[in-house]
């Protein structure tokens, strides 16, 4: 039931985005507007068809048939309830904005060290000595990027104010 509601919500969101997309597409001149109009109409109609199907199933209380046949994508296999799955996903996704904020403030290099220490302590529950080894490995990897590939790094506030030796 919860999964059906989430699916309906997601499809509704896509339908709204497709409708807004179509609305903006109609306001474009003909040449740049043809494709958006076709794609918008196509996506909106399909979303509405799926919504009708899923809402009817929800109202009738029919369980969604297990999808047989070939699935053209990697399958998820979480042994958790729907809410537990989404809660766990949120907790794991939260690491990414935390990394971004750290990069913004500390700069990429320091942020990575902080992130490694935090994550390995909190999630992997690894002791200090292996953490140190993994941080050194990570630093070596970054050095390879720096010296051989001249990769671009997001700059942090501290890096703008303080001249750090590796910059």
């Amino acid at each position: 039931m919860t999964l059906k509601i989430i699916t309906i919500s997601f499809t509704s969101l896509i339908a709204i985005i497709a409708a807004l997309y179509l609305w903006e597409g109609w306001s474009l001149p003909v040449v740049p507007g043809v494709f958006p109009r076709v794609a918008g109409v196509f996506t909106l109609i399909l979303c509405l068809l799926l919504l009708v199907r899923d809402v009817r199933r929800l109202i009738s209380g029919r369980t969604v048939d297990a999808e047989t046949g070939t699935r053209m994508d990697i399958q998820s296999d979480h042994d958790m309830s729907v809410w537990a799955t989404y809660k766990s996903a949120l907790a794991n996704f939260a690491w990414i904005p935390i990394i971004y904020i750290a990069i913004l403030v500390l700069g990429f290099h320091i942020a990575m060290i902080v992130f490694f220490v935090m994550y390995l302590t909190a999630r992997a529950r690894v002791r200090w000595f292996p953490i140190l080894g993994l941080v050194v490995l990570m630093a070596g990897f970054l050095l390879y990027f720096d010296t051989l590939l001249h990769a671009w790094w997001p700059e942090g506030l501290i890096e703008r104010w303080v001249k750090l030796p590796w910059l």
């Binding site: 046949g69 994550y119 390995l120 992997a124 790094w153």
Partner: protein, 488 residues
């Protein structure tokens, strides 16, 4: 004269210095390929300042050696970590990563490497054989035919939707919408940029690959808390993967043909080649139940095609001076540095250099595969590392790779947003492959449509090749839908 040029090219490449440059190119290509977001294009940009002092043959050897094997190196992270190394290895994730999760990482890697080598070598052979017939052939092909090739590619979404055709088509619609963000082809109109300058240029393909697949799979692994594979299956190793390739040789040959001829069409690239080959592998298989769950054919087909595509992309570049991709444009720039003008001029006056290119392509693919095969077992062991040890490295690689797209904070924000959408789609059964295919092909087909309408008006639809390719595309779409309906 052709035979003399063949042996002259080989003799030039056999020089120890030139062979050394080829080896250097292969090493750089493999190292770059392993890193998501950094591929042949970055390698070219890095190497171009240095190649002038190598002489034209040395420059060709190092550049072709590098570009031939980046798609081989891409495979490693695709299979082990579900992080596509580039656009050409996204299709490999679908079956390659499940194989790694079943403890068959060695098998998947070796099948991919050997398939890549065969595809690359045969692609070079087709390149060589196509030279005499390329000029009359290209006179029949123009933007209308290329538009229809794109429609053929988009028709594959019906197959790539699997058992969820409605959701698959919605995914394709999302892909078309995402692909139209930015400047419209053929006009200076910015579309759907939300007033944000970052979106003016559209969403880079690498962010779509890393977000929808890399981030989504990484989060799923972090949630599971288990290693990628619980154990390495006995008897499912390197040798089995090699045997798989030779057992599936008809598929390998067909995937090579698909890859080479997709490479021939300017602008399509390894991404399209690998998806078309994957879709064909599914369509042509009698037993399709394994696809999406770790079927080795789902690894062999795209990996063969994406290496063969390199040979195909060189045909318009060398024969007509028309670069099929940005990488080929940089390669042309390298040749121009030495006063070599790709096109009919090169085909008449520098046939020996053309053969240096062909030999370099073939040998680099073999060398790249051999090196990778030696590393298969140690690489496969990565799948046994506890995920919470691996996850920080994976996230770091994802963020690094994403930031190389445009070196803008927008890359990181888009990566996160696409990762959230990709993960959600996976949970709710919306297949992601149709989205990627539509994202890549949408803008390309729109460009060709614009050019066709400008030149011929609607009459372009009546051209013989357009009708022929269009019928094939329609048949593919109908067969895909009928197959799904039969399943229900």
């Amino acid at each position: 004269m052709m035979i003399e040029a063949v042996w002259a090219g080989l003799a030039i490449l056999a020089d120890p210095f030139h062979m050394g440059m080829l080896l250097l190119g292969v090493a750089i290509g493999l190292l770059l390929g392993v890193l998501p977001g950094i591929g042949g294009l970055v390698g070219f940009a890095l190497m171009l300042p240095f190649v002038y002092g190598l002489g034209v043959a040395g420059a060709i050897a190092v550049l072709i050696g590098m570009v031939a094997v980046t798609v081989t190196g891409d495979t490693v992270t695709s299979i082990l970590l579900a992080i596509p190394g580039g656009a050409g290895s996204v299709a490999t994730v679908i079956d390659g990563h499940p194989m790694a999760r079943k403890g068959e990482a060695s098998r998947a890697l070796s099948a991919a490497f050997v398939g890549s080598a065969i595809g690359g070598v045969l692609g070079a052979v087709i390149l060589a054989a196509s030279m005499p017939i390329a000029l009359p052939l290209i006179r029949h092909l123009g933007s209308p035919e290329f538009f229809m090739f794109c429609m053929l590619g988009i028709s594959m979404v019906s197959v790539l939707s699997g058992s969820s055709p409605l959701k698959g088509l919605i995914s394709a619609g999302i892909g078309l919408m995402l692909g139209s963000v930015g400047l419209a082809p053929g006009s200076a109109v910015a579309r759907f940029d939300l007033g944000i300058l970052y979106l003016y240029q559209g969403i880079p393909i690498i962010l779509v690959a890393l977000g929808f697949f890399g981030v989504a799979e990484c989060i799923d692994l972090m949630m599971s808390g288990t290693p990628i594979a619980e154990a390495m299956s006995l008897g499912k190793g390197t040798l089995m993967g090699i045997k798989d390739v030779f057992r599936e040789m008809p598929l390998v040959l067909r995937a090579t043909a698909i890859g080479t001829y997709i490479g021939f069409v300017p602008g399509l690239g390894t991404g399209v080649a690998s998806w078309l080959a994957y879709g064909h592998a599914v369509q042509s298989a009698k037993d399709k139940s394994g696809f999406g769950h770790g079927d080795v054919r789902g690894v062999i087909a795209p990996e063969t095609a994406n290496n063969a595509e390199r040979g195909g992309a060189l045909i318009p570049t060398l024969a007509f001076g028309v670069p099929g991709s940005t990488t080929m444009a940089l390669f042309m720039m390298a040749l121009l540095m030495f006063g070599i003008y790709p096109g009919p001029d090169m085909m008449t006056k520098h046939m020996d250099l053309v053969w240096v290119i062909i030999w370099s392509l073939a040998i680099a693919n073999v060398l790249g595969a051999l090196v990778c095969l030696l590393l298969t077992k140690p690489l496969a062991r990565i799948s046994l590392i506890p995920i919470h040890i691996l996850a920080p490295f994976v996230l770091m690689i994802l963020i690094l790779g994403a930031f190389q797209a445009t070196q803008h904070w927008g890359d990181l924000i888009v990566l996160l947003l696409l990762g959230i959408v990709g993960w959600t789609m996976k949970q709710l059964g919306f297949p992601r492959p149709p989205l990627v295919v539509a994202f890549v092909l949408g803008p390309i087909s729109e460009s060709y449509l614009f050019l066709s309408m400008q030149r011929w008006g609607a009459a372009f639809l009546l051209r013989p090749w357009v009708v022929g390719i269009g019928l094939v595309a329609l048949a593919s779409l109908i067969m895909g839908i009928r197959w799904q309906m039969r399943k229900k």
